[in-house]
Symmetry: D3
Subunit: 282 residues, 6 copies
């Protein structure tokens, strides 16, 4: 899995601590320590598989004696009724890990599934789908991974790995007499060469000015396709272009065909529905 | 706020660490340390306010010099366009905390809003809405709080504060010759008197047997209203009753009118959409 | 062991960090890395064995090459002179873990031993012994486990898994015009159905009123056996009953014979003496 | 307080997390956020006060708005009925912190009280009482502080701040041909000059040999007073002397009068009873 | 300070825990709790000031009653004998924090001082000095900040905020038939648009090929100035250029005059000497 | 390795978290998960090997499938060009761990190398080299270990394992009327018998007074060899002696020949240069 294993373990340990707390009263009360069990994760609706290595980490975190067999590679589009993984071993551990595993798998597969839908919609254009920082606090690494599994690319991971001059920054700078191109130049001079500087603009004129000021990437905010086309032309390859704001599955393809390089979609993560997946006893 | 402040601080600190990492490159590059700013949180769609004390904790966590004025009490239903809080102070801190604050507020208000819709639908019946453990890993405390703000009650918080014998437990016990009433009696004898024992049943006959075996609460799984009514009659006040499974806003009122005490709804948390809320400069 | 393994590891890791700090100067100075050793844990006085899985976790935490063989199941009453476990492997690790292992085993077996004494005293009555929250800060999970090993049941684990209206709560509520039955009704309406509501009363009249108000459990504070009998009669099965306050081994049986369901004893944990157990070289 | 404040905060935070968990259901359910209260800590039996600054840290950790007024300095011997501290402020916080504060104060004052008894018993001799590492895992810093408050001195804090060659070390070294004086010389040469090297001996001959080998301190294990006297004479001021093993309040004075410098007593910490202290509403 | 305050607090807390451990024996033994003191930080050799806000955080972490007055702004070049900050307050806290404060200030000012020397050497050229990841584990944030204070820019902060294809990566890829330009194209297609892709090359031909393949930045490894000049010409503005490897203060200016954009210097951090700074009583 | 493994794991985990963050973009982008690799650590200059077990812990922390073969025992003096360890396994893990492993190995071997130089300089005298607390915050355990590997002894580890009355302490005490011998007596009476009391003196007269007052160890500050000789004579074996302050490799032997027991050198740790060590593909 293209994912930092330490982060996975940290998230899983925290999730288990949250759910198990001082101990699972039910299994301690009624399930014999020696009881064995097996169960399979079954998609109850069609979707893209994402998160099975995290599921495996959950059960390993509960009891190393549990074995988790992954049946479908990450990123596979499966039909309703498909079993994607089997877990076998001590019944107590299986029951203890069930809910945390499902909560993570349903969320991650939900994100991968909606991402795939966006990606498929613009097939054949030059544009790529991007995510945003509108992720669940504490789960960003998993959610951005699910976006990659779904076929899109990640925008920056946080405030620490890229400069993004947004309207709020520009408003504050304007108050001290620094205009947008000045802000771009200031940022470019202040940060190291591995840092990409992006700026948000709302007009074609500003797009051209941002490119001239040396922005590496320009966010074209809330522009209809025709205006995007003009902005892309005005930028003329001097910077990467990103369309953002109010884009739906309905308007997506037109946006992509405007010639922008990237389209960022907050809905990939901030409103993805948990996919319906169950854990059925074997 | 009826919420453990230590947990809030822990969640907020983790969320900020995730987003800020080694530092906010943008504000460090262009925003003067002395710049001041103010902004307000505005609902862009109608909804129930939940999470403003958490928003305040976010800004306090970024910079104690930021002041957060809460304008609407938790639980208020507000119209689109309503400003619910204002934050004022050092511009850097305001910009650093913005995304984490919005991510939390949108999610919490989203949950409170959908919860309120369920609660309003059964007004006038004796039934109460419950949440489930289908929450976001790491954010359960905040999400269960948002459910309370929305007007529903919390089911158990985790595996540690209640016994719940579900189909998977009963299947494993059946394999070793323990039937459902036996499982209820075993659980009741094993746990202390402050622990509530609930069992999941799928038939009226089992509902009656569970009550006879001493269950404190009985989950009536996936029953249509008519069957629920029979089950409630069979239990005859010997245990609290909970309807669960496949209940939608459409079927909810009929379920409530069957006479069950509680109706649990996973969708309150597992699929709540982030509410559209913005942070507008003042 | 009916105990959350993550909590055990956390407690053990903290205990080792506290004792080992920047390193065991003695073993580093004089014990060769290759030296092997073996030793057995011997009860120097009769008692009930509790904590051997924790001892095993201590040595595993020091050096995975150490093997810990458990010779007596948890809960066994053993005579003075009995060896209950053997540990074998690298001498350094054995010496490093010795004190932490003994400190935990002595405390846990001490609690199990005194608990067993209380439990045995009321054999044949319907009453069950309960512990309290008067535990050692940081070790509650281990101490409540030792109580279970000793044969008693656990009262609530903390403030989070049960409502308990004590005299201090009632005094504060009284000041704002809420009487005891009102407090019970308020609590019952505010919390979810998995939460048990207990209230403390000091008279038979209040006991009856608490039952009428819907309390799930009633703590009968500091009542002599005759008064307990009256209170139990007045409650008439509408709530679980708990006797508490000033009960000693001398008065215990009379209390149990009053008909109460539960008797809680702070002394199980707050003043249990460490049992005399040694680690003898083999 | 002669105690590392960071450690106090860490212990207090952990204790509160253990007790409060996902939140205090009782206060959230029935106590209004605005309610105020006051209460005093009252000794129900005579004892030595230890732990009030920790009590203050508990309430500060629950709610900074709580004020804790300390009425008796640490180390004061008070009579039954004495109020030693008052806490005032938001009622919720007072109720949330009560049990953790009492658990810590009762344990610490219990240790200080028993320590004072040992110290008083040998008044007028040259000997000083020492504690051991037989402390509660996780609370060593607080317990060793309570020993100091009681008037005794601390032995080493852990394996990291002193060399102690005990019987188990010597047995392992003997197997590889290193005798006790050899072990002392090896240790002395291996560690830096700030590290004190102590060795355990069981005979007068060995005591003399240990002193000759350069031990800084010699533990005279399980010797009756007459033998102690001989050992002290044989050591002749070349090393500090410590009597240890099976010493009770009955035998203590005779041991002290043998001329040893220090007497270590595990019972100060491993079996101190929680002192009976209550928190009474004002 | 352009530095994430949370990271500062984390590093400071860890450093204090490491040094103070179970408590400062010396101050507890001899310094009265009420004693007050004041002292000043004095440069004993000329240098660039870096780290005073961290020093302030150290004393705040020890005792909030300590006041730290900063006398010289970060980045000031001061002469030997200059007092740069004064700390006043409880003597115990001042003594406890002294060593940690000095250890951090000496290291940070040492880095800023050597960085300034490199920066000054190439004044008037277009080149900028960069640091590397050759930093002290656990202190990277502070050391990269000190580099900025010294006047240089930061290269990437870690493996997470930039792609760098080094010789070891290229060797492994070559084994599976992927050449350097192929690696650049693969990386560019796999990562999001905010990620800069840099590749290490050792010849002018490869430099041109890397630029043609779409590298954003090209590391010219171990090239003498003449070859650098050729490489820069071959790249022709299609990518940022970085000279690296074996560059000393002696060769630095010639390298800068070759026309490269950036020069990275591991020695800024991996071998900076602690500056001689003392804390003198006032 | 004579080093607390838990501390090693903690330091290594933190270092990896710092460098890897949300994931290694480069290996995820271009290195196949199945690719294998091998590389060796080669000294590019002569030096003393220290830190290979830490290197092994780094790779184990990245991926347990990586194997690290140590070719040279800790403390070996090796020539330039010597391979000291080989690491083999999944290429991704090898590339991810490389920089952290090198940063630690270079620093630790640098310290061991400079320490060995000091130790060799005084061969044949009775004096031993000591380190100080002038270590890198967060890495003290590793740096003090490297000092031991280099052949010197450790001074105290922190403020918690020894009393050291320095000029700043004495100045504060003088202000309240306690002179140096009084301070020594106060300290000696306040701390337990395992604690060594050292005092700093600047004259022969004070040295004699310190010894008379019962100091266990006396730091002779900044004295030339002749004065040291006098001080040693005046102390006359009543305390251990330590020379400190302004000692260089040039003056070291003369200092040692003055008869002092120990010579402490801050430069062992505060200014040790990272040794030039590379990781070469195999």
């Amino acid at each position: 899995m293209n994912l930092n294993q330490s982060l996975v373990h940290e998230i899983v340990a925290r999730a288990l601590a949250e759910d198990v707390g001082s101990g699972d009263l039910t299994t301690m009360a009624v399930i014999p320590a020696a009881a064995q069990a097996a169960a399979q994760f079954v998609f109850r609706e069609p979707g893209v598989v994402a998160g099975l290595p995290v599921v495996a980490a959950v059960f390993a975190g509960v009891d190393p004696a549990l074995e988790c067999e992954i049946q479908q590679p990450e990123g596979t589009q499966v039909a309703a009724g498909t079993s994607v993984a089997v877990v076998r071993g001590p019944a107590r551990g299986l029951l203890i890990g069930e809910r945390v595993a499902l909560n993570l798998l349903q969320r991650m597969s939900g994100i991968a599934t909606v991402t795939r839908r966006y990606v498929d919609t613009i097939v054949g254009t030059q544009a790529r789908i991007l995510d945003t920082r509108k992720t669940t606090p504490g789960l960003r690494a998993l959610e951005k991974y699910a976006v990659r599994v779904g076929g899109a690319l990640n925008h920056r991971f946080g405030l620490y790995d890229g400069v993004m001059l947004k309207d709020n920054h520009l408003a504050i700078l304007a108050a001290s007499g620094v205009d947008m191109p000045g802000a771009v130049r200031l940022a470019r001079a202040s940060v190291g060469p591995m840092v990409t500087v992006e700026v948000e603009v709302e007009s074609v004129v500003d797009a051209a000015a941002a490119a001239a000021a040396g922005a590496d990437m320009i966010l074209l905010d809330n522009m209809p396709p025709a205006q995007l086309r003009e902005a892309v032309a005005a930028i003329a390859g001097r910077a990467r272009t990103e369309a953002s704001g109010g884009i739906t599955l309905q308007t997506l393809r037109a946006v992509a065909e405007s010639g922008v390089d990237y389209i960022s979609v907050g809905a990939l993560t901030h409103s993805a529905r948990a996919l319906d997946i169950g854990l059925d006893s074997l």
